[in-house]
């Protein structure tokens, strides 16, 4: 009994300590508010540009490269004071981070929105505090486009089109039957890449015989491909909305006793390291890059915005595309 009491006591103490720590955290922004606004007035000019960045999370290799690029570019040597936070794929975390940056009075706010909607309130707050906002990678769905200065990111429709155009160039006239592995249902990259690819192959004799979601993950990409291979025995081509699903499809094709890249051709989008390796190994036929290195563009736009110059509302990051030979050449120098 005494032992039990002791244990209960310890746990109570630990949880009490945790509560205190939580309390300390939540009171922090308030205390920074008073100090923060002064420093905001003091900064500007040739001082460091303070920039608050809220990242989506660390959900993929692509995202990790994106974070790395931003942290490596927005350094003190380049004239930036970067505050970085990870929202762990939750909008409420991101809104909280943005609010605390507004209270700290940063010069520029930048973030990759987790979802497209629900940003009007916090963006209004930024606007009334006179802090310019730059979006990276993902857009927000808001009727009022004065709420942000610029949106830097890839054009997903164009990525789909580039993939589709290559497929037409290579395989038109051979009556290819294609299956599509879509990204997460309803997500912007899935909708736009499907649309772009569809437009590019219309008029050719490539026939899309089936399309199913693989949720951007390898496991589901593999499972869906297994189903396709059971259902059809004449698949010639796979178009996967990202590398991971393509890599899953490779596993399924190999398990079915066929050679990916030969018996069944594969086209994907993203060009992360594992995908590029598979491309160099001849298991994937073509990859359209989705460039994660947004740091330099963000730095340039942030400097212009702070200097009061006009910036373009939409900045499309240039995406490359690789076939197998290009992958072998590019692979040693890839940063991600």
């Amino acid at each position: 009994m005494a032992r039990k009491m002791w244990m209960r006591g310890t746990i109570a103490a630990v949880s009490a300590a945790a509560m205190l720590a939580l309390g300390a955290c939540s009171s922090e922004p308030a205390s920074e508010e008073s100090g923060g606004s002064e420093s905001a007035e003091g900064s500007g000019g040739d001082e460091l540009i303070s920039i608050g960045f809220s990242q989506v999370g660390a959900e993929s290799g692509w995202r990790a490269a994106n974070t790395q690029s931003i942290q490596d570019t927005l350094t003190e040597e380049n004239g930036f004071d970067l505050s970085f936070s990870d929202a762990q794929q939750k909008q409420e975390n991101q809104i909280q981070a943005l609010r605390s940056y507004i209270q700290q009075g940063v010069d520029v706010l930048a973030f990759s929105p987790v979802v497209e909607t629900g940003w009007d309130a916090v963006l209004e707050e930024a606007k009334s505090a006179g802090i310019p906002v730059i979006l990276t990678d993902r857009a927000v769905d808001s009727e009022d486009d004065t709420l942000y200065e610029s949106f830097i990111g890839s054009d997903f429709v164009l990525e789909g089109e580039m993939a589709g155009e290559w497929a037409v160039e290579q395989y038109d006239g051979e009556g290819y039957k294609m299956v599509e592995l879509q990204g997460t249902t309803g997500s912007a990259p899935a909708i736009d890449r499907k649309e772009g690819f569809g437009t590019a192959i219309s008029g050719s004799d490539i026939e899309v015989i089936d399309s199913q979601t693989g949720n951007f993950t390898r496991t589901e990409g593999k499972q869906v491909m297994e189903g396709f291979l059971q259902k059809y025995d004449d698949i010639d081509l796979v178009f996967a909305h990202n590398d991971d699903m393509g890599l899953g499809a490779i596993e399924a094709i190999e398990a079915a006793g066929m050679t990916p890249g030969e018996d069944i051709k594969i086209i994907t989008i993203d060009a992360v390291k594992d995908g590029m390796q598979a491309l160099a190994d001849g298991k994937i036929n073509y990859i359209v890059e989705c460039n994660p290195l947004l740091g330099p563009d963000l730095a340039e736009i942030a400097q212009k915005v702070v200097a009061g110059e006009e910036v373009e509302k939409r900045i499309v990051v240039e995406d490359l595309a690789f076939d197998q030979e290009a992958a072998v050449e590019a692979l040693p120098d890839r940063q991600y």
Binding site: D210, R218, K222, L247, D274
Partner: protein
Amino acid sequence: MPATTGSRTRPAGPPGLRNLTHHTLFWPVVALVALLVANTIFSPDFLSVSILDGHLFGAPIDILRNSAPLLLVSLGMTLVIATRGIDLSVGAVVAIAGALSLSFIATAPDPGSVSTVIIAIAIALGLCLVLGIWNGFLVSVVGIQPIIATLILMTAGRGVAMLITEGQITTVTSAPFKTLGAGFWLGLPAAALIAYGVYLIVALITRRSALGMLVEAVGINPSASRLAGVRARTIVWTVFALSGLFSGLAGLILASNVMAADANNAGLFIELDAILAVVIGGTSLQGGKFSLSGTLVGVLIITTLTLTVTIVGISPLVTPLFKALVVIAVTLLQSPRVRDKLAARARQRAARPEEVAA
């Protein structure tokens, strides 16, 4: 006493058939067969199995292999639920097992060697066992409600997995590790052999020894079973530890299946699938009586359902709705109350003409 729950008074009829249709597993099995039939209609050689490169190949083999991780997780979940508990942390444990084993193999000097792989598996399973013991400690010793106790690890666990993989998707090339999830032994998928082997062992131990009965006793009334001399605390602790261990094994199979550890997506929502499989199998969430064969049928239904979506060509937009409808249909048909109502209505209809004739 628990055997008398639910009404057992039935109208007269052919006894053999009635016993069959009133068996708890009758409707789940019907659902499974219906799914297989639907698949066969859409893809006529769905059930055919051929030999390819010296191993069996075909949709049934895919179902067996893909069901392996869920079967392992559901097995642990069945035991936990039988003691009135629930384990929400299984998905996070799956992610941790994959992350730890693949990170170890990736940093090892020789990723392809059998000894490296065995050490990696041992470390991952060891940690998962510890995590299971931690859950068991919180529930049985500290007395926290299972749903809260395991919620801690459910939310924290993915963070741990993320720390291990440093936010990246860890990929390795290691032939021995790949055997676990994608390889074949004796012509059958290794993953399925492992999972179904573990299943048989657990089934034998719980049903051929008193352990199964003790687990049920704890689930029906923990205080009474303790007063009757059952070591309730040890049993609860053990089932949570086993749940952690089995989830770890499932995580290794999932990671090996695609040779990548994805801290965010590996085993995402597998806890819900496992709870669903257990419930379809007829084990009550109130604890007490549990059915391992029911869980097996539940797991096969869920795995087949996933493949059905692709084979039948259901649009991704309505996939969640389709799955929900199948599950609702199975659970409704299983409910004694709904069945009694339907039967009563059928009897009324059958009875009316007779009255007119008399």
